[in-house]
């Protein structure tokens, strides 16, 4: 019986085909016009083409929510599962399949509310996967309820007079979990930055967490209007080891800070910025222990060896 080992799986030949961007497209997205999900989808498809990811070796795992429809629009393998539970599924996919490129698409309700426990532990497992938190600060699919990232005072159908609690800061939360290894933030109205951030995330060897701050034109239409109009409302974190923009793209930012992503304390400080939205790479550690390496250490063991081990174990119970 042929068992596929780690190397067999990872080095399997897939012909010489060059994949075009259309090879990654499937169906017509049912997102609202102007929804940030559309721009993220475009960036991800461009990344797949640039990296020539083999479609059948790529898996998009999502939870439930507007953004979690994402896998349906990728011509790869996909898993559109349960609300809040994308992380455990993605971990299970990756655990014994190091050859698969795993992406997790999650939303603010999915990741920061119903799935919080899985989020925290997924950071700690630090398995090699690219995580995109598409955060529009509102529940869209269920029609405008307060989200854990809604700003205090957000008027919604569950808090018509305005929400009462301060929001979770997903960047700060991620930075606080031991073994965090890649934490970045971008905004949907800066497509060049979105793409470069997702690219850096994909290239990171570990759990790369990207929060994409997004507009919801349907329910939160005016939330970022002034931010988008005001060039100083964003602060670009940049560094030779951070997320790189070309000169032209960088020129569209008024506030630019040099931030070395190996400095977690500075990263935490910037994550708390109040008057401006910081975007860029807050923290990266390429050497954090990875649970997927532990998981893959004995895959593809020959059956004869396995049977010998079982018989050896049974010997201990022999009468």
């Amino acid at each position: 019986m042929l068992e596929l080992t780690h190397d067999d799986l990872c080095n399997m030949s897939h012909g010489e085909t060059a994949f075009s961007i259309d090879d990654y497209k499937k169906g017509v997205p049912r997102w609202c016009p102007g929804c940030g999900d559309n721009s993220v989808l475009n960036s991800v498809q461009k990344l797949c083409k640039d990296k020539q990811l083999v479609p059948e070796k790529t898996v998009f795992v999502s939870g439930i929510g507007c953004s979690s429809r994402f896998p349906h629009y990728m011509n790869t393998y996909g898993f559109h599962g349960l609300h809040g539970r994308a992380f455990p599924v993605a971990e299970g996919v990756k655990f014994r399949r190091p050859d698969l490129n795993v992406f997790v698409i999650t939303g603010d309700g999915d990741c920061c509310s119903i799935g919080t426990a899985h989020w925290i532990h997924a950071i700690r497992y630090n398995m090699n996967m690219t995580v995109l938190l598409l955060d529009n600060s509102i529940y869209g699919l269920t029609k405008k309820q307060t989200s854990p990232t809604s700003a205090t005072g957000t008027k919604s159908n569950t808090h018509p007079k305005g929400s009462v609690l301060p929001p979770i800061n997903p960047i700060q939360t991620t930075l606080s979990v031991s073994n965090a290894s890649f934490v970045a933030q971008t905004v949907d109205w800066k497509p060049a930055h979105v793409f470069e951030t997702i690219k850096a995330a994909y290239e990171h060897p570990g759990f790369s967490f990207v929060r994409v701050i997004q507009r919801c034109p349907k329910f939160m239409g005016d939330l970022y209007e002034t931010t988008i109009a005001d060039q100083s409302a964003l602060t670009l974190l940049t560094h030779e080891n951070g997320i790189k923009l070309d000169e032209k793209a960088e020129k569209s930012f008024k506030n630019i800070i040099q931030h070395n992503p190996s400095d977690i304390n500075k990263g935490r400080e910037y994550a708390e910025m109040k008057d401006s939205i910081p975007i860029g790479l807050f923290y990266q550690n390429k050497n954090a222990p990875r649970y997927d390496e532990y998981g893959a250490h004995n895959i593809g063991m020959p059956v004869t060896e396995r049977i010998t081990a079982i018989n050896k174990e049974l010997d201990k119970y022999a009468v």
């Binding site: 019986m1 042929l2 068992e3 596929l4 799986l9 399997m12 897939h14 479609p55 059948e56 070796k57 898996v59 795992v61 896998p71 349906h72 990728m74 011509n75 790869t76 393998y77 996909g78 898993f79 559109h80 599962g81 349960l82 539970r85 992380f87 455990p88 599924v89 993605a90 971990e91 299970g92 996919v93 990756k94 655990f95 014994r96 399949r97 050859d99 698969l100 426990a117 899985h118 925290i120 532990h121 998981g295 004995n298 895959i299 593809g300 063991m301 059956v303 060896e305 396995r306 049977i307 081990a309 079982i310 018989n311 050896k312 174990e313 049974l314 201990k316 119970y317 022999a318 009468v319």
Partner: protein
């Protein structure tokens, strides 16, 4: 290295020896005194001598209940026989008690009877004189034969702290009383203390011989339980260990779990040796993540299972619904304990049948099987893995505390390649075949695995068509539901009607499932010897329900299930035939066969014993 020359290892059978066909032995103590370790060793030694054995742990609900408390009885029951032993038996014949108070807990559970021999630690005669004296009087009044033994004083001859090691002294004493092979006992001790130092091993061997020699010189008590002529090539283990071995023999690669009593020891066993057999244990952050992880692995083509118990099952329900909806193969082992809620964590119950079958929202058909012996715990994992893949479905294995912790020998299984999961398929998928290409007759379809070219699809828990596209048309949900349901009918096609134990017609048919088989069949055999027309039937498939039941039932005047879950008793306040809530299998059988199936059940949290079933048979046929 120590030698055993200074000890008499050969021993003539004393004249006082009495030959018996079976004996029930108990060791009871406070928690943490090693009674279970001694009892399991005693059971293993007996199995290794060829005897039939069944052990049941006596576990208090608390980790460390107060010392000398009646509710804190901790320990083990070991039933040894000249033939195969299938259940814990009735009243104990011989009990070793490390204090007198814990015996009250067992008396309340009707574990002892007149003539039960009690070997009692006598140090409490000084320390707790009043309680001890009262207890002795109580025990004598009940007709127990109490022998007071200076266990602690004897142990102090070998170790400075008798708390460590008294259990091995007791084991030595029992070995002498039952003529167990002392070299086998030493081997067993080496296995138990393999991770400890040579000094620890040496101390424990000295205690073992100390107990052995003391019994030889001081006790006029000796029993011979001859083993059967040829038991064949056997192994001895508990049900959870058998499950773990079954997981490896099934070629499963991933066990994703979260700690929960009494299922966890399956993963302990796996954690010990799974990695040498090509698999790995994942301890998830919670029960939900554990099953999600297993589903992710299975979706990616790696055979996976999750193990849990009642409260964990409740949490996993949403994911089980997804596995049904998206047709992800998955093995779920549920080692049942008392419920609902946190319930009785360490006690036995068969209370999850309906939750397993109907726990999810909507219609979620799935396969459910239940082993009835420790041997079946091994084989059913392989069966479940095959069923899960063949029918692209979650498969439940419903075990329980009684099987999980019970130790019994069974024929050593041959491990072969056929029982292993097939290697992952990475060939190109036929583009013309949909990911849910439901066979119109059986509902079965083949699934693409990530890595298979041209097989790309997005699995979804939303209603979907053959192409896994989200369905907005009402016909598609109806059609896909039919396909999933039909798979259960297709499984049924592969089953034969069950075989009745006893005559195929008569006055009463008892129907059971799971760990109660041994007790039911022993009671039926006893009743039949006295001319009662009773038979029994034991079900191993609960979804689909095994075929031909209606025809079998109709040949009996009365049909009654025997179960360890709750049912109302007619005659209790407000309870009539109309208001009665039946035991779980009885509900299913009544619906399934339209036969007026009665039930006998309770939730005392104890394994059922033959005499209780026998009393019920007599009552029912009055």
């Amino acid at each position: 290295m120590i030698t055993t020359q200074s000890f008499p290892i050969e021993k003539e059978i004393k004249n006082r020896s009495i030959t018996v066909s079976q004996h029930v032995v108990e060791i009871v103590s406070d928690s943490g005194e090693g009674a279970q370790k001694a009892g399991q060793s005693f059971g293993s030694i007996s199995a290794k001598m060829g005897n039939g054995v069944w052990t049941v742990e006596i576990i208090p609900a608390e980790i460390q209940p107060p010392a000398r408390s009646r509710a804190g009885a901790s320990g083990i029951r070991i039933r040894i026989g000249s033939e195969k032993v299938t259940n814990m038996g009735d009243h104990a014949n011989l009990v070793v008690a490390l204090n007198e108070q814990v015996l009250y807990g067992r008396i309340a559970q009707d574990a002892y009877t007149k003539d039960t021999v009690i070997l009692l630690e006598n140090k409490w005669a000084l320390k707790n004189k009043e309680e001890y004296t009262t207890a002795l009087a109580d025990f004598n009044a009940k007709g127990f034969k109490v022998i007071e033994i200076p266990m602690e004083a004897e142990c102090m001859k070998y170790v400075s702290d008798a708390k460590k090691g008294k259990n091995m002294w007791v084991l030595g004493m029992l070995c002498e009383i039952y003529n167990r092979d002392i070299t086998k006992a030493e081997d067993q001790i080496r296995e138990v203390f393999k991770k400890k130092s040579e000094k620890v091993f040496e101390d424990n061997v000295n205690l073992l011989h100390g107990g052995y020699n003391w019994a030889k010189e001081n006790l006029d008590l000796n029993f011979e339980i001859p083993p059967p002529e040829n038991a064949g090539d056997q192994i001895v283990m508990n049900g959870n260990e058998a499950m773990a071995m079954g997981v490896m023999a099934a070629g499963i690669e991933v066990c994703a779990m979260y700690p929960i009593t009494p299922a966890t020891s399956i993963s302990h066993k796996l954690a010990e040796c799974f990695e040498n057999a090509g698999g790995i244990v994942h301890q998830a952050e919670d029960e939900i993540a554990a099953i999600g992880f297993a589903i992710g692995s299975s979706y990616a083509g790696k055979t996976a299972l999750t193990v849990t118990s009642g409260p964990g099952l409740a949490l996993k329900t949403e994911f089980i619904g997804l596995a049904v909806m998206a047709e992800v193969p998955l093995v779920i082992i549920d080692v049942q304990r008392g419920g609902p809620s946190t319930g009785l964590p360490t006690k036995v119950e068969q209370g999850d049948l309906l939750a397993a079958l109907y726990g999810e929202a909507g219609d979620a058909p799935k396969i459910i099987i239940a082993p009835s012996t420790i041997e079946e715990c091994f084989h059913f994992v392989i069966k479940a893995r095959k069923l899960a893949e063949q029918f692209r479905s979650p498969v439940f294995i419903l075990s329980d505390t009684n099987l999980a912790t019970g130790v019994s020998p069974f024929p050593r299984p041959k491990i072969n390649v056929e029982s292993f999961a097939s290697p992952i398929d990475q060939s190109t998928w036929d583009k013309n075949v949909s990911p849910f290409d439901w066979d119109p007759k059986t509902g079965i379809s083949k699934r693409p695995i990530p890595g298979q070219k041209d097989g790309m699809y997005t699995l979804t828990g939303l209603a979907h068509d053959e192409d896994s596209k989200v369905a907005y048309e009402p016909e598609i949900n109806q059609k896909s539901s039919e396909a999933r349901s039909r798979k259960i009918a297709a499984v049924l096609q592969t089953l034969k009607p069950p075989v009745v134990n006893g005559d195929e017609s008569g006055d009463l048919l008892l129907v059971g499932w799971g760990s109660t088989k041994g007790a039911i069949e022993e009671a039926v055999a006893t009743a039949r010897k006295s001319g009662v027309k009773v038979s029994s039937l034991h079900l191993h498939f609960l979804s689909p329900m095994e075929p031909g039941l209606e025809d079998i039932f109709k040949k009996f005047k009365k049909v009654k299930t025997v179960e360890l879950n709750y049912s109302d008793t007619i005659g209790d306040p407000l309870i009539t035939k109309k208001s009665r809530r039946y035991a779980q299998l009885a509900w299913l059988l009544r619906a399934h066969t339209l036969v007026d199936v009665d039930c006998y059940s309770n939730v005392f949290g104890q394994p059922i014993n033959p005499s209780k079933v026998l009393d019920m048979i007599k009552e029912k046929l009055k």
